[in-house]
Symmetry: C2
Subunit: 340 residues, 2 copies
């Protein structure tokens, strides 16, 4: 099978960032667009997802996944179009979801790709509300948080890709749901559009007081995305038998060394259950969630919002913005045009 004409562009890791990731930490390299070999599919990337976990892959410290090697293409979820296929299941023009990394074109095996229905939801939705972040929210509440009607749920980074779904799902479960977000615009959207009961600005001078006002009956479930001062304030208000979904701690992802955390006496005294979540541990949740939530996206009852920036070369800056809360909703990079 022959390859299309033209160059493939890829962002490779040039050096491990110190602090915030910067464009200079990556290098843009070009090679030829490869032809698919036996059992392979060639795709071109339309949208690239930018997610907080990526900061962990840039650091050479122990985590749940090995770091990206220096000189390797940076990892990332993508939606792309099949250009050429040596597999009967995929044909040119198919739209596919996969982890094809920070590059314009890539080769995949069938197992690494999921065909998506363009009619069912906008392309960006497959990377956000219906993709890894949405599935993370779903699994976090189903497997760990388990909110009950009338309980109080707090979601940090509530306007983000994970938090916005977690908040809406907790509302569907009948809980009182309080978001925490950065600034009045995000807080307004969390309340007016997502329909959460309240939203606390984490930049408030008195964060604990604001949370206490918003959660007069204490906190039964905390969906943790940020760490830092928000975590400290929330932990102080947890009720007996509270559940904490430990999804992420974005506030410290750029730190060279992690700061101390909370004294864990409250875990004993209030019988808190705290559990870490990596969505890939339960891969069946992805298809479950897509089946459950695609109708809600289509009927407009599950809200989502994207920030889209243009061009593969914008990816490092997009990641920097995600880590400082500069995005609003799911951060995406448009790498190629959506087919007509």
């Amino acid at each position: 099978m022959t390859a299309p004409d033209g160059a493939r562009r890829s962002l490779i890791l040039r050096r491990r960032p110190s602090g915030e990731p910067r464009a200079e930490d990556f290098a843009l390299v070009e090679d030829f667009i490869p032809a698919p070999g036996e059992g392979e599919v060639l795709t071109r990337t339309i949208l690239l997802s930018i997610d907080p976990y990526m900061r962990g892959r840039l650091a050479d410290r122990p985590s749940y996944a090995p770091p990206v090697a220096i000189g390797a293409v940076m990892t990332g979820e993508t939606v792309g179009e099949v250009l050429a296929s040596a597999i009967p299941d995929f044909a040119p023009g198919d739209i596919v979801l996969g982890s094809r990394g920070w590059q314009t074109h890539s080769l995949s095996t069938a197992a690494a790709l999921t065909k998506v229905d363009r009619q069912a939801a906008p392309l960006g939705a497959w990377l956000g509300v219906l993709g890894m972040p949405g599935t993370t929210a779903y699994s976090g509440l189903k497997d760990i948080g388990q909110p009950k009607p009338g309980e109080t749920v707090v979601v940090s980074a509530a306007s983000g890709a994970v938090g916005s779904v977690a908040g809406q799902l907790a509302k569907r479960a009948g809980a009182r749901v309080v978001g925490v977000a950065g600034g009045p615009d995000k807080c307004l959207w969390v309340q007016e559009t997502l329909g959460l009961d309240d939203c606390v600005d984490h930049r408030s001078a008195n964060l604990r007081g604001a949370l206490l006002d918003a959660c007069p009956n204490g906190i039964d479930v905390y969906f943790e995305n940020v760490g830092g001062a928000v975590q400290e304030a929330v932990f102080g208000l947890l009720n007996p038998h509270a559940r904490v979904v430990m999804c992420g701690m974005i506030a410290q992802y750029n730190a060279a060394a992690f700061p101390p955390g909370p004294n864990l006496g409250f875990v004993v005294a209030r019988r808190v259950r705290m559990e870490g979540l990596i969505v890939y541990d339960k891969p069946e949740r992805f298809a479950e969630w897509r089946a459950l939530a695609a109708p809600w996206v289509r009927d407009g009852s599950l809200h989502h919002r994207e920030t889209v920036v243009d061009g593969l070369e914008s990816a490092p800056e997009a990641l920097r913005q995600v880590l400082r809360g500069g995005n609003f909703g799911k951060m995406l990079v448009r790498v190629g045009q959506e087919p007509a």
Copy 2:
């Protein structure tokens, strides 16, 4: 019903201790032995249990139970003998388990007492291995830790009332079990008598290194009784999907302010499940455990050890010793003679 002749002696809380509890924090008061009113039973205390949780009841800070009031009799579990009863279910000479506090005699309702079989186990066993501490170990492993065959379980305070049962139960579950205890005598007993696979002295110069040697495959379950440096060393070695039974943090119970704890990034990265345990949340576990474990105590396959000190007035010093690891096994105060 008339009361027996003689005086009742009680230890009441005189002031809240600063740091270690001392004899002067309590006052010994005498009054008349009361007569049981309608629905009441008069008991004399034979053995009083001394447990780490008592330090929390002496402090006026939020916890799972309200503090003991100044001037009130200090709380505590006891084994006693019925002296007089206005209830058909209890007769003089019956041996009963209850929370009768730091005093020689007390009145109870039927609901507050459990009759125990003197033939089934020595009296002290009903307060330790078969009592609240044993039930705590049982519930902690059954409800939270859930060790599987071949996994590595670490138990801190492994020679203590809770830890010695937790360690033996984890062995029965087929795990590799490593204790942490203070000093060579306790470590020897943990290995030789309890039969744990290894025991690390928490006074080791290189605690992390000693734990690493004892746990070459990492740690899957941690039964946490101590906090502090042991907690830090264990958390660093937890495997993905490890479970942490947060039972207590005795190392900090005398502290005026709790020190910072661990950064919780590891909870996310290693998908740790950490849960606080208060044994009274699942009251059915007490009878379950007594039924399960009494035969093991009788046939000698479940080992236990007690430190018994004499006289009600020894209780404050006994508590001080428990909080500094000065006891060996379950700490008991002999308040009155065991009937022949």
